[in-house]
Each structure stands twice: as structure tokens, then as C-alpha cells.
Symmetry: C2
Subunit: 211 residues, 2 copies
């Protein structure tokens, strides 16, 4: 289930300023997430680190947004996917993926999954594989001008996906009325680990724009 992310029309200097403000926080938080599962320091050090994180939380909690980042409209009604859990600059859950797309309806990303994404020992959680496939399928259909909500998503797991450096590719297969079919695969050091097919449904608002 994904939305298209058309170009952000916010002036460059504003985007740069916001990136410089929130990017380093999310990057530090990603390191923290990794260390929550990988650190092996003694309990006193963990307690001191917890106090540091609580201090950050107390600062950030002073002003809370009334809408989520996804609900916020930017100039010209555009949206910015900074809260997205796969690609979001501000979201520490996101690795984040940098997805490259072309208008023919192809998207790809080279990305890294560390220990915080582990399911079976040493392998990426199968549901995380599904999460990434869904996101990049959404980019491919969006790039083709056929954005949509995911209707159905089918994943076939060929082999375990090892933690580490990975690649994902997605492409539009065919279109029919309000439906778009797209396929995707995750590729690890030993080849394709998982394949996906998604059926995406054009939202009514976009159908009306296209009509």
C-alpha cells in the first residue's frame, strides 16, 4: 500500500535546512536501534545510555505535531515521505532505502539490512522482505503514472535473505482499467531470495484526474 511521491515543491533552501535539522537525529537513532540489539555493555552503562535517551525524549516531547508527517500538505498539495518506515529520512525504522525510478515503471534500490531486521538467525525477517517489496512495487507503479493502494501482494520466498547488502528491483508488468500489476525481487549475494507480485488499485481521486 503506497502513495506516489511527486517532486517536493518546497524551496530547496527550506528542504536543506529541514534535512540538516532532522537527518542527523534520525541517523543517530538508527545507530541506537542497532545497538539496542547488538550492544553488550554492562548494566550500569545501559542505564546511563537509557538516561541519555530519556533526556532526548524529554527535549523532543516539548512540542508535538498535531498531524502525522504523512498527513501534512506541502506547497502545491504535495507530500514528503519523511515519515515512511522504508524510505523516510526522519524515520529510524527505515534503513532508509534510496529508490531510483524511471518513467517506464521500473524502480530499484541497493540497501543494507542490519541485525535489527533479523528474523531467522542471520537472515532478514520474511515480513521485512515483504515490507520492502511492497514499498518498491509502489514506486514502480507510481513512476509509470499508475499510483495506487496495494490490493493484493504475493511473496514467494526462494531462499533465506542474509543480513547485509541487498538489492531490490520492481517493474510494472501490465495495466487494465483501474488495476496495475507489478513484479519485484530481492537479490542477495547468492541471487534472488524473494519474488513479489502486487496488484495496485488506482485511487478514485487519481482516476478523476486522469479522466
Amino acid at each position: 500500500m503506497n502513495w506516489p511521491f511527486p517532486p517536493d515543491e518546497t524551496p530547496d533552501h527550506v528542504v536543506e535546512h529541514e534535512t540538516a535539522t532532522w537527518g542527523p537525529l534520525a541517523e543517530a537513532a538508527r545507530e541506537l536501534v542497532d545497538l539496542c540489539v547488538m550492544s553488550d555493555v554492562d548494566p550500569e552503562e545501559v542505564a546511563a545510555a537509557t538516561a541519555d535517551v530519556e533526556a532526548a525524549v524529554a527535549r523532543l516531547r516539548k512540542v508535538r505535531r498535531t498531524q502525522t508527517l504523512g498527513q501534512e500538505h506541502l506547497p502545491a498539495g504535495r507530500r514528503r515521505p519523511w515519515g515512511n518506515p522504508v524510505i523516510g529520512l526522519r524515520n529510524p525504522i527505515a534503513p532508509p532505502l534510496q529508490v531510483h525510478s524511471v518513467p517506464e515503471g521500473r524502480s530499484e534500490s541497493d540497501f543494507h539490512c542490519g541485525p535489527a531486521y533479523e528474523g531467522p538467525p542471520g537472515l532478514v525477517h520474511g515480513g521485512v522482505v515483504a515490507l520492502i517489496l511492497d514499498q518498491v512495487l509502489g514506486h514502480a507503479v507510481g513512476a509509470k503514472g499508475r499510483p495506487g493502494m496495494t490490493g493484493t501482494l504475493t511473496i514467494v520466498y526462494r531462499q533465506g535473505t542474509p543480513l547485509g547488502d541487498l538489492r531490490v528491483e520492481a517493474w510494472v508488468e501490465r495495466e487494465d482499467g483501474i488495476k496495475t500489476w507489478a513484479k519485484a525481487q530481492v537479490i542477495g549475494p547468492d541471487g534472488v531470495t524473494a519474488e513479489a507480485e502486487g496488484v495496485f488499485i488506482l485511487p478514485r481521486a487519481i482516476r478523476e484526474q486522469l479522466a
Copy 2:
């Protein structure tokens, strides 16, 4: 793609001590993740919070595990899913879900998805829905004594899944040889939002144990 999580045979006082050590850190980190996308404080406050998080990172980085939590064997060869990105006590990516299972092969969880799990505006990312369904399907097949890697996973999205309090239910449908079929659904305030079917393959090691 999930592993069974049989009872942890570590002595209670050790588990309690480790829970008391790492649980509060992960809980603070979950609040931090939420605020990375929801805070609206000024840039100076963000910079100060970033410094706090970097201080925590510097402490935790002093000793790094050589194996992931998933690779670590506990007494009697058991494993503890504390690093799991859906249910892991130590993983800030995990909401975390508390999953309740019965040996008939049924699992369920009431859980909460906040703004860090957002895909479309106000809705849970479809891939996060898939991640949670995969995890809980794995619990159901494991509870029935038919643990396995996910072979295929099919999700049908019925309506958007709103951020907030949600429920997931999974159950084993049938078994045939090394395969187990299970179904699951996510339920929001307006009913079922997504349905899943998973086919799980018994790992060779477990086939040999069962034989």
C-alpha cells in the same frame, strides 16, 4: 519466515535481570522513534537531542556482540526472540506485539501502531501490515508443532488499516507433508482490513526430529 520460539530455559532471575537492563532502553528508544517523526521542536532543541542520542550511542558502542541475538544459543539450545522486529523486547522497531498462542494452532495479539508505521496518510503502511501478519502466522504454525520458514505469503487488502489500536488473529488451516497452510487477519475499528494466507515449510532439522 519465522522460527518457533520454544520456552526459554534460562533461569527466571537471569531473564528478569536482563529484562530490567534492556527493556527500559528499548522502551525509551521506541519513544525516540515516535518523536523523530512527531516532534516539532525548534532546530536548536533537535540538535541538543541529537547530542543526547549520540552520547547514548557512544556508551553502547563500547562493547558490541559478535553474534546477533538471533544467532545466540541459550541453555538447552533454545533461542530468545528479543531482537525480533515485531515482538522483540530489545528491538525498538517492534511495537512490540505480545502474541498469545494455543496448541490448536491459533495465535492472536492486540497491539498498537503509532505514526512511525504510517504509509498512506493516517494509515498503517501496507508492508507493515504484511510484516505483522507474517510474524503471527509463524506463531500459529509454531504453536501447532509445525514451525517453518514462510514459503509463500499472500495478502489481500480490504480497506486501509488506521493507525492506532489493532488486533491480529492467525490460525492453521491444514497440513500436508512438509507444508502447513495458515490464515490470518488484521482487524481495525471498522472490521477486517487485511487477510493473509501463508504456506510454511518444515525445516529439515525439524522434519528429522519429528520422524
